[in-house]
């Protein structure tokens, strides 16, 4: 099953079983079913709760918060994650703060879905990974779709937090298969974190920590490193990026010769530095060497594919980083 189909099925399942779930977004109605077809079939099946909206990202994020205020659950689809910038005020100043700023907990169940990332040649305003702009906001959790986490469970978990959540969905994942780590590797779950490894997760030379959108690039790098350099890696893919649950990560990070964190945005002041800082703090004196961060170039994302490739993280970027930290 493709990741897009898993997500679509998860939304169907949620709307079907929970009568208080709404979904709002631009062009989400049938027969179009959303720019990336993730909402296909929903508006036909759940009219009145699946609403195609005007081009009003700020407005619909606010409407979602209003629904959540009454106890409903709301999902917003932002057509391209870049445009979540237009909903920033509602997310930062209303929804995330409201769960706490009235002196007692106010549950707000809302999820903002953001198709993100490049690799499709859509150009600078349609290709960003806007994660870093939403990191570190009290009352806001960040998740990313991965090929290993069933989105049914992910959506349920987000609503159970009773606070606003953003779900980043790397566009290049949509057409990839769920639960497929390739023929070389096996995978399993440790809490919230998917682990992909050769045969023993506790014996890898290098630990790679990556969000779901980078999983395939990391896997390709692991394959190359294994076949060409006999280097073994353990890939850790969390579903919730922020705040990050470190428990499943720590024992591996401590044991390995090196740790590499990957993110697909410009480096610095982002998820990579956050994870590195956490590991440095928790494992001070026990790490073999500083945690390395793989990130995109500090640049806009060009439209032309040959230029875009130079900016965004590739399999080769990850390979190089692993070799470098291992001193190869």
């Amino acid at each position: 099953m493709r990741v897009a189909d898993n997500l679509n099925a998860a939304l169907h399942d949620l709307l079907e079983h929970e009568g208080d779930v709404y979904l709002l977004g631009e062009d989400v109605a049938d027969p179009y079913g959303g720019a990336f077809k993730i909402t296909r079939g929903l508006s036909s099946k759940f009219p009145g709760r699946v609403l195609t909206t005007p081009i009003s990202e700020g407005g619909i994020a606010g409407v979602a918060a209003g629904l959540a205020l009454t106890g409903d659950k709301a999902i917003v689809e932002i057509m391209f994650g870049d445009f979540v910038a237009l909903a920033f005020d509602q997310i930062l100043n209303f929804a995330s703060k409201s769960v706490a700023m009235y002196g007692r907990p106010l549950p707000l169940r809302m999820v903002v879905r953001c198709p993100s990332g490049g690799g499709r040649g859509y150009g600078p305003t349609h290709s960003q990974s806007p994660h870093k702009h939403f990191l570190g906001i009290p009352g806001l959790s960040l998740y990313e779709v991965t090929p290993f986490h069933d989105n049914r469970a992910v959506l349920r978990e987000m609503f159970a937090r009773q606070e606003p959540c953003i779900l980043f969905e790397d566009k290049i994942l949509y057409t990839r298969q769920m639960y497929d780590a390739g023929d070389l590797f096996t995978w399993d779950m440790d809490g919230d974190v998917a682990r992909v490894y050769l045969d023993d997760p506790t014996s890898a030379d290098c630990v790679i920590i990556a969000p779901g959108g980078l999983a395939h690039r990391a896997l390709a790098a692991m394959r190359t490193l294994l076949l060409e350099r006999e280097i073994t890696c353990l890939l850790l893919v969390p579903s919730r990026l922020y705040p990050l649950d470190l428990d499943p990560v720590l024992p591996h990070a401590e044991r390995a010769k090196a740790v590499v964190v990957c993110e697909d945005g410009p480096g610095g002041a982002g998820w990579g530095s956050e994870v590195a800082h956490l590991l440095h703090t928790r494992l001070w004196g026990r790490l073999t060497r500083p945690v390395a961060i793989v990130h995109a170039r500090n640049s806009v994302i060009p439209a032309a594919p040959h230029l875009e490739k130079e900016v965004l993280v590739q399999e080769s970027t990850i390979c190089r980083a692993v070799l470098e930290v291992l001193g190869g």
């Binding site: 179009y32 195609t52 150009g123 600078p124 349609h126 170039r297 500090n298 060009p302 230029l307």
Partner: protein, 318 residues
């Protein structure tokens, strides 16, 4: 109370039934250049020779062609995602635009911007709906003080009226009497959503609410439109009165590529309003040679540009 700045010129009014008037050679070739450029893009996509996305202005070519001689090189033009026609009508540079879209040498913006993000002289486009309205107002503020007589022209679609920035900009523009010309290409649809499903009220009503002038045009006749537009542009230019010109137009092609879910009868209605067929029927002897010439020209350009080396650009270090 804001005064209503609207009724100093006659609105363009409804298209008179009947044939399109005969165009000047230059206008006809501009229209056909844009048409064949856009058709070529869809063809290149189909053949897998283009990546990313594109929004063609098929059916709407006449809007920028009617407007462009009324604009001065000192005027700024802000375009949107559906901007190839806006650019070609202003700069007649199919080589640079195609190179930009194909990421080849000679690209307007080195292939970084692509179809939706162009900047050349006083022409700028970006892919975030509504964003350019306040920016255009800012430019108009500058022009008013430093280059009186110049204006900022901004193209937006009907769907873009969903964005709050549009209203903030309109308010500022009328409040400060900025030389802002808002060109609305109301093609009755935004991506897949018909205007009735995304807009309460009307664009005219919005203009009135802010005290901006409003003029609607349903004609696809470039001569007639230009006659109707000239006094409106003049009003912005000489009297610093923001005006909204609303073209009731028709998106003949898909939103981007292969994503048209409109039912057949709607598409038939759209096609019946295509200036291309209407002009071909009205002036076959004028149309045919120019059509063939532009088709051929674009084919040659596509061939030539595709053979160029890839564009070069250095991302900033770090």
């Amino acid at each position: 109370m804001g005064e209503v700045l609207t009724d100093e010129v006659e609105p363009g009014g409804l298209a008179p039934p009947g044939a399109l008037t005969r165009l000047g050679d230059d206008d006809l070739s501009a229209l056909l250049l844009i048409r064949h450029f856009e058709l070529k893009l869809l063809e290149l996509f189909d053949r897998g020779e283009l990546s990313g996305t594109t929004h063609t202005c098929l059916g709407q070519e006449y809007v920028p062609v009617a407007l462009s001689p009324l604009l001065d090189p000192a005027d700024y033009v802000f375009s949107n995602h559906r901007g190839h026609g806006h650019y070609l009508a202003r700069h007649r540079d199919p080589h640079g635009l195609l190179a930009e879209i194909m990421g080849r040498e000679g690209a307007i913006c080195a292939g970084v911007g692509g179809s939706q993000h162009l900047h050349r002289d006083r022409y700028l486009s970006t892919g975030v709906q509504g964003e350019s309205m306040p920016v255009a107002a800012g430019v108009a503020l500058h022009l008013k003080r430093v280059e009186p007589g110049a204006l900022a022209c901004v193209y937006i679609g009907d769907g873009t009226f969903g964005e709050g920035a549009v209203y903030e900009a309109l308010n500022l523009a009328v409040l400060w009497r900025l030389p802002l010309l808002v060109v609305v290409e109301n093609n009755g649809i935004a991506q897949s959503t018909s205007t009735e499903r995304q807009m309460a009220g009307t664009i005219r009503g919005r203009a009135e609410a802010f005290g901006a002038g409003h003029h609607s045009f349903t004609s696809v006749d470039v001569n007639e439109l230009r006659t109707g537009l000239a006094p409106v542009v003049d009003l912005v230019r000489r009297r610093q009165r923001p005006q909204i010109v609303e073209f009731h137009t028709h998106r003949v092609g898909p939103h981007s590529k292969g994503d048209d879910t409109r039912p057949a009868h709607v598409l038939r209605g759209v096609k019946a309003n295509d200036w291309y067929d209407l002009y071909a029927a009205a002036h076959p002897e004028h149309f045919a040679p120019s059509d063939a010439a532009q088709r051929e020209l674009i084919a040659l350009i596509a061939h030539e540009v595709a053979a160029r080396p890839l564009s070069r650009w250095e991302p900033p270090c770090a």
